[in-house]
Symmetry: C2
Subunit: 220 residues, 2 copies
DNA sequence: TAGATTGTTAATCGATTAACAATC
DNA sequence: TAGATTGTTAATCGATTAACAATC
């Protein structure tokens, strides 16, 4: 099971996009695809696609290309879409609510089992079939259910305080929507950041660059 | 005003994080900082910080370091936080509502002037001080107000259809929360993608990798 | 002035692209 | 078999790190 060598994050970050394109191809009834054809659809080089896939094994066949359904399944497997990691959400404000209601956790390897909020107004309300719990229930809940993943949709300072506690309680991974910066503080813990504000500022820079006319192309 | 040479996207993507750290330093009353000190706080190399900043000019002073307030202002300026680009939001579902309510557009160079939704239930309701408009109003609204940026929080197929129309109407940049893939289709248009689903799948991969024990460290 | 720290050039490292032999 | 397309090695390109002279 152990991969011979750790695959670079650059490659990993492209996998979900491959997975989406293959879903679409599958839905369109396309059975096979060459790296060349896929590359032109995705705006990548065929070389890169073959390099990326060969980090995980030879899924293609010379002279034929890749079987769409099989490759889709393989990448899903690599990404762990079949897992059911117990997950809790901290914060049922605008963002927390949207994430909980919007995201297909089951299709991505997660199982949302608890939502916690400090605002008394929200406690007891229903979110995605879960009763929102008081954050006072966090410790007993984690001791009982042993969640592995925590989604942070709380203010920065709360995140700072909560993170150490959560790690003590056995949380191994964070989906972090806050501005709290884990950076160096928790080795061995996985942190995937979603910094919406940063993303918007990057857009700002790029718009301005384009408007000023000294743009080259639109890269992404 | 024109930069001598286009700055790489890798550098641009780090700027908002510098900006946040400098905000914090400023708030903490710290007046000056060396690249070495900043690097240890941010988990980068001092070399990288100096390289990054020197893409835009020499903001530091030999023997002293960087003036926190000045550098903060410079980076804010580079990112265009003082701009007020007219922006519209398509989709006032869970995600659209959360983004509209949550994001500090004014602090990031944008001015949200219109929200559009197809669901009759939502039309007329208030969101961030704006009355939600029927998507039938999109064309006349754009003709009158000439927005520059569109935020897409609508289904994939709607995004595909809307994007061409929006470009025709003069939209030059998209903040894209959908799975619609602009990739090659609209040259000269800026697209900043926020793929929450992809981010969650990357977390999935990394959790599994860590749990299987063949992890190295937590990189990010 | 001496010490500190930048700005910048050179060296290294990693990621992407190109090329081609292997093979279906 | 001949044609197509992979898997994989080699070449290129870009980004990061190291080093150090310039200078406050």
């Amino acid at each position: 099971m152990a991969k011979s060598q750790s695959v670079s994050l650059s490659v990993i970050r492209r996998l979900p996009r491959y997975y989406r394109f293959l879903s679409d191809l599958k839905a369109a009834g396309i059975l096979r695809i060459s790296s060349r054809e896929l590359s032109s659809r995705m705006g990548l080089t065929a070389s890169q696609i073959r390099q990326d896939l060969n980090c995980f094994g030879g899924f293609g066949q010379q002279g034929y290309g890749y079987n769409v359904e099989q490759l889709h399944a393989e990448i899903g497997n690599i990404l762990g879409v079949g897992k059911k990691h117990k997950t809790i959400l901290l914060g049922a404000g605008n963002l927390g609510k949207a994430v909980a209601a919007h995201m297909d956790f089951e299709a991505k390897g997660f199982d949302l089992i608890g939502v916690f909020e400090t605002d008394k107004q929200m406690i007891g309300k229903n979110l995605r079939g879960l009763k929102i719990l008081s954050s006072e229930m966090l410790v007993p809940f984690c001791k009982e259910h042993q969640p592995l993943v925590a989604i942070l949709c709380i203010p920065k300072d709360s995140a700072r305080k909560a993170s150490d506690l959560l790690v003590e309680l056995g949380i191994k991974a964070f989906w972090n929507f806050t501005h709290y910066d884990f950076a160096v503080s928790h080795p061995g813990i996985v942190v995937e950041n979603v910094h919406l504000g940063d993303s918007l500022m990057i857009l700002s820079y790029r718009v301005n660059e384009t408007l000023e006319g000294n743009s080259t192309d639109n890269k992404e």
